[in-house]
């Protein structure tokens, strides 16, 4: 708030403007300030100053609702992709950017899908980044057992058996956290379900989650039950990270953000990553599960919309993406970026060649109950022996039937 207070006021001369950016992330604010992002922008655009403020409120979205309605509205705000962004677009507190940002060509389809308002299909944000989800594996354990990266699901199960026989838990999943279970299920099952083809059929209303291919995908979570760490439904995210980092679990399906987590742990973990391999008779080849991870939106009540538009166009460019992705340790939402971190660079490369949308994040979080919450609960029930994959898949579909309408996603 202090930033807008001096925006265009006493601190700046008549043709100088201060553009205020709000984000929920302290890391993002630091990246802007310390990795030379603000400097690079201000050098190229004299007269426009950028102030990035991290609003470290637990309910960032609630704070935004008030902030965007007030007289001291920020100019640009970071928003979480999909449902959250779409609900702000619905409320009219942010404006469509289709014509504000001149060049969208560098962004991937999954990245743009997360930036659209559901009601009108317009683009409401410049994508910030992408999360990819893959399997992390402990190279040392694999080498000791003479295992290579599996090239089919059957090989994966055989490797898991060998690891189990050696006394190590083959796979850890944060089984107490619905969103994490759902993400893991997506890493395992996206290709088994049919990847992009299934996605297309799903949003066209031609297939549902009760489809035999999706039932089979959920069934993979039943198949891996014997290879999971003990008491998996009590495992938190922190515990999963620790179990993997200390070599008590050999594989860990999770998001790209773990690269930063492992680096921050300070432990020397010799790990690699792979996308879940497929069997020859599955409907799709191996894919990189990916979803949009936030975007920059323009506030309707921005006091400097012209300058904010200049900044947004720059945020959509390759120069910013290079600086930001490398400073944050994330996968960029657009092409033309060189990542210095080798692990992330590998994920980025795989993602660019065969991205597949995380169905739950992209389509099933626009209502109550959210598809990912349901999936988490149903998979827990599978592991607890309370349901079967067939009933679980159908139950998720019945749950989202309360609000999910494929037609809502048909905007040209």
């Amino acid at each position: 708030m202090f930033a807008t207070a001096c925006g265009g006021g006493s601190g700046a001369s008549a043709n100088e403007a201060r553009v205020t950016v709000w984000t929920w992330s302290n890391e993002a604010m630091n990246a802007f300030k310390k990795a030379g992002i603000i400097e690079a922008f201000e050098r190229a655009h004299p007269g426009i100053h950028v102030e990035v403020v991290a609003q470290l409120d637990k309910n960032y979205e609630t704070l935004l609702t008030t902030g965007l309605a007030g007289s001291e509205s920020p100019d640009i705000v970071a928003l979480r992709s999909y449902g959250v962004l779409s609900s702000f677009a619905d409320s009219g507190s942010i404006v469509p950017l289709d014509d504000v940002v001149k060049d969208w060509t560098g962004f991937s389809k999954p990245a743009l899908a997360g930036a659209k308002g559901k009601a009108d299909g317009k683009l409401y944000a410049v994508p910030q980044g992408i999360q990819t989800a893959q399997v992390y594996y402990n190279k040392k354990i694999f080498a000791e057992l003479g295992l290579g990266v599996p090239t089919s699901w059957d090989e994966f199960i055989a490797a898991a058996q060998k690891i189990k026989d050696s006394g190590v838990a083959p796979v850890v999943i944060p089984g107490s956290v619905a969103a994490q279970i759902s993400l893991a299920a997506e890493v395992f099952g996206n290709a088994r379900r049919g990847a992009g083809d299934f996605e297309q059929a799903f949003i066209e209303g031609k297939k549902t989650l009760a489809d035999p291919d999706n039932v089979a995908a959920v069934g993979l979570m039943e198949q891996i039950k014997p290879y999971l760490v003990d008491n998996v439904t009590s495992v938190t995210l922190d515990e999963a990270v620790t179990l993997f980092a200390t070599g008590r679990a050999a594989m860990f399906p999770s998001g790209a953000w773990q690269v930063t987590t492992f680096a921050n742990l300070g432990a020397e973990i010799d790990y690699g990553t792979f996308d879940m391999p497929v069997n020859a008779d599955w409907p799709a080849k191996a894919v990189t599960v990916s979803y949009a991870d936030g975007g920059w939106a323009l506030a309707k009540r921005s006091t400097h919309p012209k300058e904010a538009a200049v900044l947004l166009n720059w945020l959509a460019g390759a120069e910013f993406a290079n600086l930001y992705a490398n400073a944050m340790g994330t996968i960029p939402a657009r092409d033309g970026v060189t990542l210095k971190n080798a692990q992330l660079a590998e994920m980025y490369k795989r993602y660019q060649s065969k991205p597949s949308t995380y169905l739950g994040a992209a389509y099933l979080r626009y209502g109550t109950p959210s598809g990912t919450d349901l999936m988490g609960e149903q998979v827990q029930k599978i592991w607890l022996g309370q349901t079967t994959s067939d009933r679980a898949a159908k139950s998720v579909q019945t749950g989202v039937d309360a609000w999910f309408r494929p037609a809502d996603f048909q905007h040209g």
Binding site: D90, G175, D230, T368, P369, E377, Q380
Partner: protein, 312 residues
């Protein structure tokens, strides 16, 4: 005397304006801080919304109807409600029995009483979120000391996945909740016990009543008002509990919804759903919860008062 009466009647007639003037500041504060937010939640629940700031139309009680007729509410609301009731009932029984027992023991204690009162109250000073996190660590089957200790004692069969099994998660939640709040009833009962004149007990003693009968027929009836207060506060706490279930099972009431409560359902609808009319439906849920708690508390108060009158 006549003059005095006249003076008094003057005081009774004049105050209308004065009374209003005196009450006004407090009422204004009460209205701004309490009445307005409560009325606005009720107001929100009667509208259909698009996003957080855009109101579409007045839709009477449609949001309430949704809660009772549509998925997921028809399934999740009763489940969450039963968990709230279980938490209330479990906490009520344990706090009123264990809490009273501890208070009576401490009352007999004399010098060390203060020390133990402070000790029992300590967890009460810690945020439930921190308490939840600490107990998650303590009860972790992979890293926690509780199961390690059980295994060391040769009780492997008891070293279960406390928060990972639906059968144990809710009872553990209730026990931890009691562990945290027990100091409060202990203090209240302690104060009430201190206020009972010892002569009453002594008189019963002279009449030949033994320890249990003195407690049952002299002390316990005199504690009725405090038992009532503790019960009503437990009811309110049990119905609106959020932080501890959230710390244990996240917003979905893991495992498999076994620790889901109404506030978590509210949180999922209002903050996490991304649904267009989230504000309308969640306000309806909040209003229902408020009315239920208000009704329950008033009913409880009435029952306690009737009991008190019967005893006096």
């Amino acid at each position: 005397m006549a003059q005095k009466i006249k003076y008094a009647s003057n005081v009774q007639r004049a105050p209308a304006v004065v009374v209003v003037l005196f009450i006004l500041p407090a009422f204004a504060l009460f209205a701004a801080v309490l009445l307005y937010p409560m009325a606005s939640a009720l107001g929100y629940s009667l509208f259909e919304w698009r996003g957080g700031a855009n109101l579409v139309r007045f839709n009477w009680f449609e949001n309430f109807v949704v809660l009772f007729t549509e998925q997921p509410y028809v399934e999740q609301m009763p489940r969450a409600f039963l968990h709230n009731i279980a938490i209330f009932a479990g906490t009520l029984v344990l706090q009123n029995s264990l809490g009273l027992f501890l208070a009576v023991q401490l009352h007999k204690l004399g010098r060390m009483r203060r020390l133990f009162q402070v000790l029992y109250t300590t967890p009460y000073l810690v945020s439930p979120l921190v308490v939840g996190y600490l107990w998650t660590l303590l009860l972790s089957p992979s890293f926690g000391p509780v199961n390690a200790a059980l295994e060391w004692l040769g009780l492997e069969s008891l070293a279960v996945s406390w928060l990972g099994e639906p059968t144990t998660a809710l009872p553990v939640l209730i026990l931890v909740s009691v562990w945290q709040w027990i100091g409060f009833p202990v203090l209240l009962y302690g104060a009430a016990l201190g206020a009972i004149p010892p002569e009453l007990s002594d008189a019963a003693s002279v009449d030949g009543a033994d320890g249990w009968r003195r407690f049952r027929h002299v002390t316990l009836p005199l504690l009725t008002p405090v038992i009532g207060t503790v019960s009503i506060l437990t009811f309110i706490g049990g119905m609106e509990t959020f932080t501890l279930p959230y710390a244990f099972g996240g917003a979905t009431g893991s495992p498999a919804g076994a620790t889901d409560v109404l506030s978590l359902l509210f949180f999922r609808v209002s903050f996490q759903s991304g649904a267009s009319n989230a504000l309308g439906v969640s306000s309806a849920l909040a209003t229902l919860l408020f009315l239920f708690i208000l009704g329950g508390a008033l009913l409880g108060r009435r029952m306690i008062r009737a009991q008190e009158e019967r005893l006096s």
